[in-house]
Amino acid sequence: MDFELDGEQQAILDSVDVLLSLRAGPERAIALAAKGELDHDLARALREAGFLSLATEVGPLEAALLVERAARAAAVLDVGARALVAPALLREVPDVPVALVHADGRGPVRHAAFAGVLLVADGAVARLVRVEPGSLAPVRSGYGDPLGFVPEALRRSGEALGAGSGERLLRWWRLALALELSGASTAALATTVAYLKQRRQFGRAIGSFQAVQHRLARCAIRTEASRWLALEAAHHGAPGERVAVAAAHAADTAAQVFRETHQLSGAIGFTREHDLHVFSMRLQSLRLELGGSTAHARAITAERWAEGAP
């Protein structure tokens, strides 16, 4: 048991942070959003530095640390799917964007318009569908990641990845979600805390009002817990109960962080000139994925307490 980074992890994260500070960040996310683009440059830089293969070359925890950091840095990229989920299912990490799809899902899918690989969760199996990147129709949306439309026929096609693959896909997908939610929640909260330290009304910093402080403090407790729960689950190889706990906790946290950061930022929080929306709008998208918090919560109960649970 050790919550501190070891030397290798520290070295990895140091270079990840340098790379992200140069190539990601809210300003870039805003520019990409205006064009509806995915960050191909960032993907290339991460791949060249070897970070997209951390899961196989070092371990899932290290890949998880990357995913969380990327979300905190507002990376507009399928980094969770590519660095964490795909390696759990495929022998080779694809060189193209990966979109995660639920066979029974109806809505638009994150990153699908750019994806070269779809990983489809269809009951007991997962399926691999190769598509021409750019062939799926983009769906206009203001929730952070570029979305695309995956036709029903594609959701039902592809190569089955073997016994247990459906469940494996869901577990790692839940984990990636928990990490992205946690990173984005942390960044949204930090943005608002920084703003409220300098924004003054009634002759004092708004962040000095206790009614405001307690709400922010409660958000901080939740974002800290979300991060540790997700990292723990990654270390243990994404077991069903742990990833459901991490995802449910992170999704509930996201809802609370969205509500509080927007409320406490006032009107500026709704503008594209303030960074908050880069993180917060994404929270709404992420927290709905895979059925959202209620589905994660039911999964916890099924995993832990149902008849014949492991």
Binding site: M1, F3, L196, I221, W228, H235, H236, W305, A306
Partner: protein, 381 residues
């Protein structure tokens, strides 16, 4: 970073569980239904702690010089989890081993160490904590119980309130004001007072929580030898802040909440309630709170294991623990409905144990103030 228990820790947990199976009496659930301060549980603690001590487990995290075996903080955390989860068979003595003993090691004279530490580590003594006063709750430094120096003794006048375990206690770790002229945080001292000293009276305050939960302790010209003072005169606040950092996560509340939730889910399954998706969601959400409290507490233990000074992570863990406890207590009542109202029923016993979580050991709002100031570094008024 890695999150595995060492094989030794795992083995210790197993051994401890076997020991508990063998040692706890059949009617343990009944003994423990009114909390660690009840006559039944405090009485049992003397027997139980002596047996823990025989195995060298009661104070294993203490230094060898004081009757421990220098076990790492994680080992002690396992003991806390296992014992607190099943209702704390150490009774009030968990306080002794968690922070009163360590405070004596840190600040005590050789004579005090020799007098108190062996008795604590043998499990034969009960302490109470005389901090809060009628006018000094969250604002503890407002305390007014006065200790005047008269030769080689202090004469103590005043009263303490909410004092858990006072009726069973052999000693009290008492906060007094030795210099009323000094600033708020100055002029406070700590005394280690035998409860059977003339001039001390204890009155139980009847409560809805359980038996012997709260007491008032009155001090009427109580003479306490100066040799009973812990740490330097007028510097008691340092001693206390040090001690409280350990207390705030001392009781593994999340472990209790986790076990209660498991038992609740088991009963829900037996009655077919798990089929109801709403019930399944409620249980799942409660589990996220319990797990959040656990992992935040582990973070605090980890800092201790690394020899780092206490940080506001303690407050994060504490509020999360409170939330988990309250959520599980409420859920038990809600799922059982009016059935849970019967005294001593599963829902009732657990709800009563949980209901004080947000106030005991420093109210939630005060923790949130600290998180805002020190963790988020938000400006003061």
């Amino acid at each position: 970073m890695e999150f595995d228990w060492s094989p030794q820790d795992e083995a210790h947990r197993e051994e401890l569980r076997r020991f508990l199976d063998e040692t706890l009496p059949e009617d343990w659930e009944t003994i423990s239904r009114d909390g660690p301060g009840s006559d039944a549980q405090a009485g049992f603690s003397r027997e139980f702690c002596a047996r823990m001590a025989e195995r060298g487990w009661l104070t294993q995290h203490w230094p060898a010089a004081y009757g421990g075996s220098d076990a790492p903080p994680w080992r002690h955390a396992i003991v806390g989890e296992e014992l607190w989860a099943i209702g704390e068979p150490r009774g009030p003595q968990y306080m002794n081993v968690n922070w009163i003993g360590p405070a004596i090691m840190e600040f005590g004279t050789e004579e005090q160490k020799a007098q108190h530490l062996p008795r604590i580590s043998r499990g034969e003594v009960i302490w109470c904590q005389g901090f809060s006063e009628p006018e000094a709750g969250s604002d503890l430094v407002a305390l007014r119980t006065r200790a005047r120096r008269e030769g080689d003794a202090y004469v103590v006048d005043g009263s303490k309130i909410w004092t858990s375990y006072a009726q069973h206690a052999d000693f009290c770790i008492l906060l007094v004001r030795t210099d009323p002229e000094a600033g708020r945080h100055k002029g406070i001292s700590v005394l280690l007072v035998p409860m059977r000293t003339e001039g001390i009276t204890v009155r139980e305050i009847p409560s809805v929580v359980g038996e012997r939960y709260f007491h008032e302790v009155f001090f009427d010209a109580v003479r306490v030898p100066v040799s009973c003072r812990l740490g330097p005169e007028n510097e008691g606040w340092n001693v206390v802040t040090h001690a409280l950092q350990y207390e705030r996560v001392g009781a593994a509340r999340y472990a209790r909440a986790a076990l209660t939730l498991d038992r609740l889910a088991e009963r829900a399954r037996e009655r077919g309630w798990l089929e109801d998706p709403h019930v399944a969601e409620r249980l799942g959400h409660a589990r996220t709170l319990v797990e959040a409290a656990r992992v935040l507490t582990y973070r605090v233990i980890d800092q201790r294991a690394h020899g780092k000074p206490p940080s506001t992570d303690t407050q994060l863990a504490r509020v999360a623990g409170t939330d988990a406890d309250l959520a599980v207590g409420e859920l038990a009542l809600e799922l059982f409905g009016q059935e849970g109202l019967a005294y001593g029923s599963f829902a009732d016993a657990n709800f009563r144990l949980a209901m004080t979580a947000g106030v005991a050991v420093g109210a939630t709002e005060v923790q949130l103030n600290l998180i805002a100031a020190r963790h988020l570094e938000l400006p003061r008024e």
